[in-house]
Subunit: 484 residues, 2 copies
């Protein structure tokens, strides 16, 4: 590829996608939570936003294998969601802590440059909604040509409404067909300013998607944000391969200033160009945005089959499990997860962030902002089904070929009843197979391990009994996922 | 007591309470459902409305043991809720089908008259909210004296708002202190008429509570609704004692016209008198009424500790399990059971009845109007915890000393794990004790029985596996509750 580039880049050169998957947005609570934020959720019951992003860069004629950069806590979510749709990232870089987009993109660019110094990169947030028609791939080609001519290209979406939740870009003179100078960046405006910019016709929404050559970008970072470059460089140099992941060095990465790539580079660089586009796009930054991008019925309501709208208009209802009736309410959002329900007005959906802060500040409600009732693990996951005073019931699912760690609990015994598939159970060194409708008992203190040796998902019901049932009563003796 | 009455009734005579507990109201959905309607629910986490009614008539200085009349389907709910608060009804009469209040009250009066021909009866709906202060028992004494002088007494509650959901009574001339003639009955009014009646000061709400002598009432039924009397008489005469219940004869009872006691008797009889009262009372006929009687905070919101009101006013939130945030919504009701959520406007809470009809008409949603996730049985009950494709998890609770039927399933095997208490388990004639943290397996087709021989509640987790898991796959071989 390098050779092709040296010969003058042609349309057959592939672009390296860099997917940003470390965000921890709170404004789609209760669906989005710290342990599983927006990008890993499926809002329409199909692929998650992260998976949709992976699919968007899956055509090998256009793109190379993606580099994903994510927070350490989300590494298994990234690996599993990619695997689920059959995509194999070139690398999964792990941020040891959140440092905003400038250090993350710089680190990913450095990583890509090692493989291919002249690579053209496409930076994609993984928590946006985007329709590739009309004109998405044509715009990408335009951006790539501009990038090959030394531009840092950003995509600017033609506004369709006076949105106050987006940053804007004022378009300057046309450089080449479809590529314009940037006159200026505009912070999230008030509604009057937003309306003015919409009317003016010379402003676009800042989409957060970029295309550039690795070298060009890194030169700009060296000039405009040298501390970011230094931190990212050291984090890569001192980083380590860990299973399928590349772990950025924590001390080095933390030394990089926490700053956005817009603020550190794009708003300052003279190399920035904008490619105006008009495909459907949303940052899904609030329930209001989700409602706008949803499939609205004749009355402007968005909801799945488990929702009954009765004399209601312009509302959004999402429910994981319970059937919902919305009766005589307009412009309302109601989102029901298994353990929390949010109901509010769509026109103040931005307030969800404050609500989450408020819930976090109370020890009793803080868990509702952290975890879901279903927790995904490298080997599968579990749903907390029932919590009693001295017992707990979980539904465990183990993927074919996967094993949990060899472990021991000090305070609880466990009963496992296999309801689907076959389990390989090892208790104090003795292994046996447990098949559908069989059960096994694990006394307090025994060394045990659960595996799925089969070809189909193993599902089992776990009944724990004991005086203390916290997740932290676990001694890992051996683990395939490096968690001992 | 009859003798005392013949000698002139004194204040030491006790009144026989007749509690109407057969109602099937739908307007408090999703809390209220066909299998467990309003009167058996606790709206404030303490006693159910039925239990509150039982407690109100529990003073032996005032009242004899209550007669409860209920629908056949609710017999175990009635028996258990009475037992739970240590009250032993004189009789539990079972309506084989709903025939409205006239046949039910007539049958209960006939039953009471057999024991005590001159008995003074107090008829009480069991699904209303009522504060006994101020003046409840004083009004009861006034009513009793009027009843002993041949009146059919109804209580009329001084209105505090122009309610359109209640029937009204126009008060006539005072007969004796605290007892007035009825000028006329007024059907549920429109809001203009309601305001007019409130302003006039001569109208009261028809509370549905009555006091009369059995003989007086039955004479009026004979004169005004002879078919009701004939049906009720035959239903009693051909009725049968069944365990702790008295089962009215179905064919006879069905022959009685389905008609309300107001329409059949009180609106027509010249013996009717009204005792105006001013204690707090509500028929809890809608979520709006529940909000009005609830403990409102400074912003007029009613909700338990699992609710966060944010910039919301005058709203009601009830949730069985999930934490609820109501954000920027005023005058709203949100009620969340485990499997259904209703959110609407308080000022159109009457519409819930229509919603339930709509849900009933669709086979997919009909079960949401019928049963709760927790089902109460004579021996205890169960909560459906998790439903899989070929498995189901239930939490069973068995009361001390109770036994389930000896039974067999054709299509499912069961695993029981005891998490609290001790179980007596009989499998194919062989009995064993299973204690906390032990489990037992019941293969398809085995004859089995579960009992709680201990002094504390037995709780167990049941995991069913099989190709068909419906409740109707049960062959009862022997049953302590007459269900074979």
């Amino acid at each position: 590829m390098r050779a092709a580039h040296m010969d003058g880049a042609g349309p057959n050169d592939t672009i390296v996608p860099v997917i940003l998957a470390g965000g921890q947005g709170t404004r789609l609570w209760p669906m989005s939570r710290a342990a599983r934020p927006k990008q890993f959720l499926s809002l329409d019951g199909a692929m998650s936003l992260f998976q949709q992003t992976l699919k968007r860069v899956a055509d090998p004629a256009r793109y190379g294998a993606p580099i994903v950069i994510t927070h350490h806590d989300y590494r298994f979510l990234v690996a599993e969601q990619a695997q689920e749709i059959g995509i194999n990232p070139a690398a999964i870089l792990l941020e040891p802590m959140a440092r905003n987009t400038a250090p993350a993109i710089t680190a990913a660019t450095l990583y890509a440059q090692k493989e291919n110094p002249g690579a053209v990169l496409h930076i994609l947030p993984s928590d946006h909604a985007l329709a590739t028609e009309p004109g998405y791939f044509a715009a990408l080609e335009t951006a790539r040509r501009a990038a090959e001519n030394g531009a840092l290209v950003t995509f600017g979406v033609t506004p369709t409404a006076p949105e106050t939740g987006y940053g804007y870009i004022e378009i300057g003179a046309e450089r080449t067909k479809g590529v314009n100078d940037v006159a200026r960046f505009v912070e999230k405006p008030d509604s009057e300013t937003a309306q003015h910019m919409l009317d003016a016709g010379t402003y676009v929404w800042n989409s957060g998607m970029f295309v550039f050559e690795a070298n060009t970008f890194l030169e700009e970072v060296a000039a405009l944000a040298p501390e970011v470059l230094a931190g990212a460089k050291a984090a890569i140099a001192q980083g380590a391969v860990d299973l399928d992941f590349f772990r950025l060095d924590a001390k080095a990465f933390e030394a990089a200033p926490s700053i956005s790539v817009d603020y550190a580079i794009f708003e300052k660089s003279s190399s920035v160009a904008v490619v105006p586009v008009s495909f459907d796009w949303s940052d899904l930054g609030s329930w209001d945005a989700v409602w706008k991008t949803g499939a609205q019925d004749a009355k402007g309501n968005v909801g799945a089959k488990n929702v009954l709208f009765s004399d209601s208009n312009g509302s959004l209802v999402l429910s994981e499990k319970a059937h919902v009736v919305l009766d005589g309410l307009d412009g309302v959002v109601l989102v029901a997860s298994e353990d929390a329900i949010y109901a509010g007005r769509l026109d103040r959906a931005q307030n969800v962030g404050n609500i989450v802060k408020q819930l976090k500040s109370d020890a009793k409600t803080a868990p509702l902002t952290q975890t879901h009732t279903t927790d995904y693990r490298p080997w599968g996951g579990y749903t907390s089904v029932l919590m009693g005073e001295r017992f707990q019931v979980k539904r465990l699912f183990v993927k074919p070929g996967k094993k949990l760690s060899l472990q021991r609990h000090h305070h609880r015994s466990e009963h496992w009843i296999v309801v689907s598939g076959t389990a390989e159970v090892t208790i104090d060194g003795k292994m046996r197979m447990v098949t559908e409708n069989e059960s096994v008992y694990l006394p307090v203190g025994c060394e045990h391990r659960l595996g799925n040796p089969g070809k189909i998902l193993l599902e089992l019901i776990e009944v724990q009994t004991g005086s203390y049932l916290g997740e932290d009563d676990i001694v890992r003796i051996e683990d395939a996922f490096g968690r001992t």
